[in-house]
Amino acid sequence: MSETATTSGPLIHPGEWHIHYDYAVGDTAARFFTELRDNMKVYARRCPSCGRAFVPPRAYCERCFVKTTDWVEVGPEGVVEAFTIVYEPFDGLPVPPYAVAYVTLDGASTALANFVTGVDLSDPEVASEALALGSRVAVAFAGKREGMITDFHFELLGHNK
């Protein structure tokens, strides 16, 4: 292979995809994001068949395969279902360390991912104990809200067992 090479290295042609998308949020999620932005409330959508309350809200239940109907307010507290603490930098993300958790808000049937604050992340083992599954967190809203999932984050509650 190298015998036939005539240049000092492989010839590389750079390519990039900078393509703008306008993702339609849809009426159901739009209501959810609007409630976050304007009223600082988290709403779930309930399946009339199995009764599960979906956050993020879904217009349908994929298991029962029916349209969801009612809105129910959930939270503002909830429980950690899964978490990670990021120690390596990733393109476009906060400077590490930072924590991300999947939280089932009180009254909800599904978990929602967001950043978690209020934890000293300097020691991974200690921090992982603080964020252990079952830990309680509360929704904390940003001062300036834009109708995005980052309008809020989770804050670890101090009285965890």
Partner: protein, 383 residues
């Protein structure tokens, strides 16, 4: 109707894995694997009835990338189809097409050339743009979150994860087809910094470029094959909820559902006793431990202890990833077909230095990258 009851693998090949194959274009890499797989099966391209590809546009950097890869995969003027699910699904679809009775032979092929793009960034494109991308979810973050949900003692689980990585890297060091050929020590793993807790940098295998292809045929075709046929007697696959919104352990329910279907089809009643080895999805060592339990290789809750006790080592009671798995050869997206190829080589007695003693029945398992929403399980036999 002419439904075919049995499908066999007649040959297969993987390109030599390398960190960066910048000496070839993607379609040239695909051609390398297809040509080698046909040669291994002792067949000409003209004998192929259909070509089944698995590829993902965002990883290939081309839209509808199969337009470029179909013909180098052998499909010129032939039937071809692509799935954008992980590599093992090319085998799922190829088996179904042969079982339909419409096709006698198929080439299943998949590839990974992720050296050409920033993979962590690319992986975020698979996530929901409304709820997940703004929070930075990517394959490795999601894998870490899934790992955090495993029940039991965290220190025991971390210890078991180390056992898995040490084992798989040792197997990889012995396997001439593996990418990472250097073993790692428990000490090195313990000192490795966290990428995303509880996953350490050294537990996320460096990725490589490569392509994998297997040639499949009907029972009739297998009877005239120059090589020993390996039968795909059980095939099961399942897809779970999108994302992690359902409690994360549900991911393993998806693997359980896939395994149950494969076992039912093959008549396996107790995998822990009937299976001689398994090649499983181990993008992180935690995924392999999950798989021990979800595949029924050990009882629920016994996965970490099984890893620590050495039961899954090359000469253990039930070797898992004798090839070194993804921990040694991380062909992102293509790894499931890699597991099938390694299981095929084992059952043909061609696995070389990592050969398991006289296996007759093995399992191959593929899953969609780290988050593992979809799983495919194959029961493979050489009798």
């Amino acid at each position: 109707m002419n439904i075919q009851s049995r499908v066999a693998i007649l040959g297969g090949a993987q390109t030599v894995p390398a960190a960066c194959r910048d000496d070839v274009r993607l379609e040239e890499l695909v051609f390398e694997a297809a040509e080698a797989a046909l040669a291994d099966a002792g067949m000409e391209r003209g004998e192929l009835d259909t070509v089944v590809m698995a590829g993902a546009d965002q990883m290939d950097g081309r839209s509808i990338s199969s337009m470029m890869t179909a013909c180098p995969a052998g499909a010129y003027l032939k039937d071809e189809i692509r799935t954008t699910v992980e590599g093992s699904y090319a085998a799922v679809l190829a088996c179904m097409r042969i079982m339909s009775g419409e096709f006698d032979t198929a080439l299943a092929i998949t590839w990974a050339k992720t050296s050409e793009s920033p993979y962590d960034r690319v992986s975020t494109l698979s996530y929901d743009p409304f709820y997940e991308r703004p929070v930075g979810l990517s394959d490795v973050l999601d894998a870490a979150a899934v790992a955090s949900t495993f029940p039991g003692s965290k220190s025991e689980l971390a210890d078991a994860a180390r056992s898995v990585t040490v084992k798989n890297r040792a197997n990889g060091a012995a396997n001439p087809r593996a990418f990472l050929r250097a073993p790692v020590s428990r000490e090195l793993l313990g000192d490795s910094p966290y990428v995303a807790y509880p996953i350490r940098r050294a537990e996320v295998p460096e990725a490589c470029d490569g392509a994998v292809a297997v040639v499949l045929g009907s029972k009739r075709r297998a009877e005239s094959s120059p090589r020993q046929a390996v039968w795909m007697d059980g095939i099961g696959w399942a897809t779970g909820d999108y994302g992690i919104e359902a409690a994360p352990p549900a991911r393993m329910d998806t693997l359980r559902a896939a395994a149950e279907r494969a076992y039912t089809m093959a008549g396996v009643t107790d995998a822990s006793r009937e299976v001689d080895f398994a090649e499983v999805f181990d993008a992180t060592p935690y995924h392999e431990i999950f798989a021990y339990e979800a595949l029924g290789l050990v009882p629920d809750g016994a996965g970490p202890a099984f890893a620590v006790a050495g039961g899954s080592e090359l000469h253990g009671d039930l070797p898992v990833n004798p090839s070194g798995g993804l921990q040694a050869t991380n062909l992102r997206f293509a790894s499931g077909l890699g597991r099938i190829l390694e299981a095929y080589l084992q059952l043909g007695g061609r696995a070389g230095p990592v050969q398991v003693a006289s296996p007759s029945q093995g399992i191959a398992h593929g899953a969609t990258t780290f988050p593992a929403q979809s799983h495919a399980v194959f029961v493979m036999r050489n009798y």
